[in-house]
Amino acid sequence: MMETWYALVNHLLPFAWTQHTFMKNALLAVLLVSPLFAIMGTMVVNNRMAFFSDTIGHSALTGIAIGVLLGFQDPLWIMVIFSVLLALAISVLKTLTNASTDTTIGAVSATMVALGIVILSRGGGFNKFSRFLVGDLLSINPDEVLLLAFTLAGVVILWGVMFNKFLLVSVNPSLAHSRGIPVRLIDTLFCITTAVIVTISIQWVGILIINSLLILPAAAARNISRNMRQYHVASLLITFTSGIAGLLMSYYWSTATGATIVLFAALFYLGTLLIKPRFA
């Protein structure tokens, strides 16, 4: 399957940067991560859950730490399980306590980062985990690309079935409830989906910037759209453009790919902010 992709890239994009197999893999990864983050991000922003996804990202450190403690070479599945449990815990905390959600989430976030750092830095060996902080998209291998493809397919199917319910809950939970939607269940499902996607993508995008990649395109798209369709089209265009531009520029500048992509997304955000009055 990857052979077809390599041949296609050689045929369509006969440039210097596409000569490397790792760039072809990374390009495919960008093409998969972009729509994934575009459609997730729009809903995260709609739900005012930017801080939640940030916390899930940061808590990945503790997930990695637990994986390492349990002696796993590749801690991905431990990280996913851990972040799902954490998402459930936050969602329960939200309903149990009347305290403002951002205080609760902030407390969880800080604790998880500290715990992760403490465990991982035992014996001074933190450096080998720094790849999780910055992320390394260029190191992605075909199996991992396949995982991304399955994740994207899963999210597209989930959206096809549940999008309207997610949307109604995000607009107003009481209204959604009166339409017979099990609000708490939908809310929890969305939290879990966010947790899984953020955690799966984290080793390629990086803990420090993953949330920006999720939030910035959606925030930019929001500035220039008046309905859900425009919102999604704009968000997709922005993630694709900044994803491909970021990948290319990181190649020429020898910079970290994830961060370069985020910078392009930030440019879009600034640009749309300037033209926002025309769309109001």
């Binding site: 709609n46 999008f163 309207n164 607009v171 009166s178 008046r226 309905n227 859900m228 919102y231």
Partner: protein, 272 residues
Amino acid sequence: MSKVSVIQKTYKESCGLCHTKLKNFGVTIGRTEILRDIDLHIQCGELTALVGPNGAGKTTLLKAILGEIRHTGELSFLDAGDCRRNPVVGYVPQRLDFDPGSPVSVLDLFSACLSSWPVCLGHSRRRRERVSAGLASVQAEHLLDRRLGDLSGGELQRVLLAMALEPNPDLLLLDEPVSGIDVQGKEIFYDLVSNLRRQYDLSIILVSHDWSLVSNYADRIVLLDRTVQRCGTPQEIFSDERILRTYGPAISEDTEQTFLKPRLIPNGGVRA
């Protein structure tokens, strides 16, 4: 005339819910008892107004009927043959708390309620027409493509009312639907509501602080303060000295002008 009665008849037959019964109904949140010992019997085609001071538990009662808050006691919806069934309940909240910057159009929100086709993929012409027809019933079809955050308070309430009427509800709950809206907007809204009740033969429970409007439009007033203090026609309520004394001059001030106004709904709706 004959046309109207035909319409009434079809809707009358489609409405199987004949009464909503609350028996020994109560709500306790944490250790606070908010409502207790409520016995209410709401007939089809009736507009029941819930009035009472702030904190009397009016909104709580609606939310408990909706199932959003847990309640004690019995809540049953019975149709003509006294069979229990699940009714369609429409709800217009007091104030829709939403993010005004969100790029959700009226069409998006409405369609999301009606079907499971993801609204981010756009709308078919048929759905557009259906939503437009729904909005037309509350004179709001021009709002179809507006962003939710760009609507005025009155416009938003009318859109929410249109949504609550799709699909045809058996029971419509209105929680201070027009608080903070100007007099003209209020009258448009209440005229719509009382027309709907006559057309569709649905039961309406309306929470309101506006005594004069309530007395014009309601068939029955329920005075709620932790429990049902009094229940009767507007005339009965306003002529009760004890209520006037307890619930203050606000009521007595309104009563005089109330009785001068013509009552718009003399027939009390259609009974099945």
